[in-house]
């Protein structure tokens, strides 16, 4: 596929570069250490950290935001530790996820997870029944999370509003 670096593409690259953690993308010399060591890349052919770095350098927003590509990163930091140029592809993926959410998009599973935390204070509901089970195991009741405070924090930053309004 021919790649055209349009003004729009350059603008996109500039925005990624301005995200904390993603500043060093232009230092990438495409050695591929990240891809060679990535546990996901070994099993998913479309997930190639090196390609992600390259696509950002060429400002190819559409290809990066396609499907669930950005959500295939396990966040294991192997590329972060191994990159000889300290490019930190994992942080670039994070920057792209943030950008995607700011534009109104989030994977439904992530949306449900975050809304659940705001509502329950935990990622799972820990109700009376769960606490009875815990008692059977000689465990104390789970701390009762301050759900009001948690929701207020998530809303005060504007994050929860963005999550609620997001679509795939």
């Amino acid at each position: 596929m021919t790649i055209k670096v349009t003004e729009e593409a350059k603008e996109f690259r500039k925005r990624v570069l301005a995200t904390p953690g993603a500043e060093k993308i232009m230092h990438c010399y495409q050695c591929g250490t990240c891809t060679a060591d990535c546990p996901i890349a070994k099993r998913v052919k479309e997930f190639r950290p090196r390609n992600i770095a390259r696509l950002v350098m060429y400002g190819q927003k559409e290809r990066l935001m396609e499907g669930d590509l950005l959500y295939l990163c396990a966040g294991c930091y192997t590329c972060y530790e191994h990159c000889p140029q300290e490019v930190h592809v994992s942080e670039i993926v994070s920057a792209l996820r943030k950008m995607s959410l700011n534009e109104g998009h989030l994977l439904p599973g992530f949306k449900a997870l975050m809304e659940g935390v705001a509502e329950m204070g935990y990622i799972y509901e820990i109700d009376e029944f769960a606490n009875e089970m815990r008692e059977d195991d000689d465990l104390p009741p789970a701390p009762e999370p301050d759900t009001g405070g948690i929701e207020a924090v998530m809303r005060a930053t504007g994050f929860l509003g963005k999550v609620e309004a997001s679509t795939r």
């Binding site: 990163c73 192997t78 530790e81 701390p143 948690i150 924090v153 994050f159």
Partner: protein, 286 residues
């Protein structure tokens, strides 16, 4: 020794065996673990990738509770360890970020001061309790039992933030395994991620990573120990889904240590382990 105990959502609701063994082991070692009133989700490693400020604030809200208790935090989840440690470091280093986050935390009636530290349970055992104390307490040697350790990514990485062990050659868990008399074993994929975090996106990938590791460990050892709820669930579930279950025992590291120190299988919650619990209990009788 006294710590604020941050158990984390997944262990609290899914893995009583891990929590129970950690609590009983701590008791045995004279370590007091105090529950944190009002604490909740750490924020998750996912949130770190979605919104920086919210991630810091969610972590800081929990850290602030430990600060009020005047204690450092001990966690049993790698995800919580990474999230809380990273936020703590960033907030301690940047007065600007701290001010921004405290503005948000006021909504929850909390203030982050930067007076508590965060440590994984494994690191607490190694650094604060010490291997000598642990060895002294061992009543039942696991001699001849070959145990592979899976550290999990977020106990170690990013290394410049976690500062807990060498991410390329970690030894903490292996040293604890050796303290029980068991033989720590090496295996090629020791440092590879369990891929648990992509379970909700591409499930088959997680099972494939898990199973590859299980098969490899089986060639070298008798059991696999973990220190993270997500890693444990991956290695247990990937086996249960197989028609021919490889039946590699998977244990939480405090279970192994607790059994070695004379706790009985029920006290370390071994009945909750779905793969290989019998084989491990059999070791005790032999």
């Amino acid at each position: 020794m006294k710590y604020a105990f941050f158990v984390g959502c997944t262990v609290l609701s899914r893995l009583p065996g891990y929590e129970k063994s950690a609590r009983k082991l701590a008791e045995k070692l004279g370590v007091e673990l105090v529950d944190m009133p009002g604490s909740g989700c750490c924020g998750t490693t996912y949130l770190e990738t979605l919104d920086h400020k919210t991630s810091l604030a969610m972590a800081a809200r929990n850290i602030a509770i430990a600060e009020e208790m005047g204690l450092d935090i001990v966690t049993v989840c790698n995800g919580c360890t990474e999230v809380l440690t990273k936020a703590n470091k960033e907030l301690k280093e940047s007065p600007e970020l701290r001010a921004e986050v405290n503005e948000v935390l006021a909504e929850a009636g909390k203030e982050y001061k930067g007076t508590s530290n965060v440590k994984h349970f494994v690191r607490m055992l190694k650094e604060d309790v010490g291997l000598d104390t642990i060895k002294e307490k061992v009543e039942h040697s696991f001699e001849g039992f070959r145990v592979a350790s899976h550290y999990g990514c977020h106990m170690l990485k990013p290394a410049e933030i976690l500062m807990s062990d060498d991410p390329e050659n970690p030894t903490m868990m292996d040293e604890l395994v050796a303290a029980t008399g068991a033989t720590p074993v090496e295996y090629p994929s020791k440092l590879e991620c369990c891929a648990g975090p992509v379970m909700g996106v591409r499930e088959a990938v997680t099972w494939s990573v898990g199973l590859d590791k299980v098969k490899e460990v089986k060639e070298h050892g008798d059991a696999l120990v973990t220190a993270c709820p997500f890693c444990y669930l991956t290695f247990e579930r990937c086996q249960l889904m197989q028609e021919n279950n490889p039946e590699l025992p998977v244990m939480h590291i405090p279970q192994l240590l607790g059994l070695a120190m004379g706790l009985d299988p029920d006290e370390v919650g071994l009945t909750h382990n779905k793969v290989g619990a019998k084989a491990v209990a059999g070791r005790l009788e032999g």
